[in-house]
Symmetry: C2
Subunit: 148 residues, 2 copies
């Protein structure tokens, strides 16, 4: 299906909730209620997001999470990468020397370019964009790397 994991999906929803009031600190509990997910689940993914530097965390009473930077400066690619690691459509496009077919298949290089096109597509959409209901006119141009 070519999909991101559920956790990643949830993460975008949680990040969107944070972006709604970027100045405030939100507890994991509050966010869980907001997006209708279990607290442990939300807590888990917030830790990952904090580890990746996308959110700041605060301990103790009245602690919680806050966006580490403006929603315009956080891309969907950032969130996906934080949750799933480096974006790579195939084994060999993320890291070479693994599939053993490399000398014979000949399609590796081109997969890498497709990869890059998709990574750029994800990088080109910010968290702020995700909050816009369905507004902006005019396509965002995305390019696959030269020489495909």
């Amino acid at each position: 299906m070519l999909r991101v994991s559920k956790l990643t999906d949830y993460a975008t929803a949680v990040m969107a909730a944070l972006a709604d009031a970027p100045a405030r600190v939100h507890s994991a509990q509050e966010l869980a209620e907001r997006v209708r997910l279990e607290l442990p689940t939300v807590s888990k993914l917030l830790k990952q997001l904090a580890h990746a530097g996308l959110v700041d965390s605060f301990r103790g009473v009245n602690g919680g999470y806050r966006l580490a930077r403006a929603s315009e400066r956080i891309s969907v690619a950032d969130i996906v990468t934080a949750m799933e690691g480096p974006i790579g459509m195939t084994e060999c496009s993320a890291q070479s020397g693994l599939c053993g077919l490399e000398p014979h298949c000949g399609v590796r290089v081109n997969w890498q370019r497709i990869n890059q096109a998709i990574a750029e597509a994800l990088a080109g959409v910010s968290l702020a964009d995700m909050l816009k209901p369905s507004r902006r006119r005019g396509a965002i141009p995305i390019h696959v790397a030269p020489s495909l």
Copy 2:
């Protein structure tokens, strides 16, 4: 990691091998040797590709597989879809009414647009393109749907 499955990856390699001699009929055995994979695996994915109409199959002695149409008219999206089903980054972007968060998360519509951008990126690269070592200059422009 946001990746296609290994089978899909293998499928592109097998399709590339077929595209190398599009007029001939290749047995599963021959293709398996060519791409250095086990016969049952190659056989399995060829069945799927045949079912999706991307290759024609011929039974009996001297039977085998052949590209159903010119490699220029087979896209990477075709192969991915044949192997993995409809392209959809999230549950809800492939099919609504499943995640229960839809009324609250607000990011669903935008995921759908990202989806579409990626689907178009994959659709814009043909099997013939995949065979080119690393040649063509000039980016292929891809657009996310209007109103993101």
